[in-house]
Subunit: 213 residues, 3 copies
């Protein structure tokens, strides 16, 4: 039993690192597309990887930040960004972005469920906890796009992304209100978020537009 | 007397909700103009409605935020944003923006005076309290425009807006330094801010430009 | 001895004010280039002058901010921004920007070393302290450019700026790990940062670009 728990813990850590790496690489791609130098590439990578969680921590006034306690992750992301920028000219930006979709969806699910659970256990009301979950999962990308001087793709690409996170958080809230064990609620949130994101990508779903005169 | 106090309290709450709604709708209009999807519309609405107060709370390190204690307002603004975006195609964006001017001016006056009074009662020096008041009233719109990838209209439209808030805050500081009752100072700040904003709109006043070679 | 200490303190304060002024003027130049009104000019000046230190204080949860305790500096920067905007039409934007390079480099060195030392004495790990130092020195400019709706020049001009700050912080960390006296480490950080920035400007050094298909 203990072995299985340890295995589960290791798997979770590995998935979280994979998600963080995917987010960081999305930052590198955004920066390279804007022809930024190495400083811009690293900052965009950091913002995409740590921005959502850091914004959540500022909003719920939680210190120290995750990356203050784990400077190794900080250094690993730095090395990843520089390495990625150095080798990127061998790849095509479009296909790199496509390769990221699966690890990115995993990151979305994990970070969203962690942020939500953190806010919920602080006793914040459901609507606020849901918002914190969605912000943790999605606002790294928003900060990345703002620094790249673009309208955040989260807001304009008419693909379900934040809405997948919303679906996951609703599962969590429903399970918690039915007194399910917290680990089940957290896992459901992550699975529903990641799963629905992958499903909408596969089905190529689009959100309706608002037309205005 | 008690009845009058209750009536006054209800009127104030109603005006604050009206101001919040006006700010939220200004966010929806900005998002629709940029052809954002429903996620962008809701985020822009939230930023415009709650961004100024939240930024002030971060700066003065005040928790919980207003909207953490009042999740109903959060949900109401969410519904308003979605409803507004759904029905907007029946209206003209220009005339909707014009309709917003009066409730927006009321919101500016109320939020500016609340933010100023909050900072002042914390014992912050006058220049800082004035800044906090102006930030509370105006930075929701700045955050909205930044997310919409525009130079904030507060900084470039050459209309007095922050300056009206500044005029109101100077009234407050003057009255407080003359030992006037706080409620009178707060009310004067709100009335002067809202009044001067409406007056400058009516007179179509413009700020001078800086010319550079 | 006491006289020399006092003289040193005064010199340091004078240099810090010079650096703050240079940062504020860079904000004014950015705002004028975007044809902003007086409100935009003042906000850009404030963001450039105080943004980096304020962001650092939010990240390390330090209150009150520097400018809350020193409202005179706040008022001085306000006056400087308005004065600068009023007289700017007599000067050429390009040559004004060039005049700023030396005081700006001094500000970079001083703010970077102060931010780094503050984070280090809080017991934060080296990689985090280095980041806080670089953020303190450089993110005022990033916020200024974001508000001006531009890709931050820190990220795209391919000139060493953040990298000079990084060089300085590495000197500090090396000296502190060798148990050198703190004042020496702080001074080295400031001198190396400012010196390397001036050197790279003089040598007209450029960072390599990332090429992508």
């Amino acid at each position: 039993m203990n072995d299985i728990q340890t295995l589960g813990q290791h798997t979770l850590t590995a998935l979280e690192l994979l998600g963080t790496a995917a987010f960081a690489v999305s930052g590198v791609l955004g920066a390279v597309r804007k022809r930024m130098d190495v400083v811009g590439i690293v900052v965009c990578g950091f913002l995409a990887a740590f921005g959502g969680g850091t914004l959540r921590d500022i909003l719920i006034d939680r210190r120290p930040f995750f990356w203050v306690d784990h400077q190794l992750v900080l250094i690993a992301v730095l090395v990843l960004c520089v390495a990625c920028a150095s080798f990127l000219h061998r790849f095509d930006l479009q296909s790199s972005a496509r390769l990221l979709q699966v690890p990115d969806a995993i990151g979305l699910g994990l970070f969203c469920s962690t942020g939500l659970h953190m806010s919920w256990t602080l006793g914040q009301p459901p609507a606020v906890a849901i918002m914190m979950g969605v912000i943790t999962g999605t606002f790294g990308g928003v900060l990345r796009d703002m620094v790249c001087n673009e309208v955040p793709s989260l807001f304009r690409d008419h693909r379900p992304y934040a809405l997948c996170a919303l679906a996951g958080t609703l599962f969590y809230v429903a399970l918690m209100l039915m007194d399910a064990p917290p680990w089940l609620a957290v896992a459901s949130c992550a699975v529903v978020t990641t799963g629905s994101r992958l499903l909408t990508l596969w089905l190529n779903l689009r959100l309706p537009s608002v037309r205005s005169n």
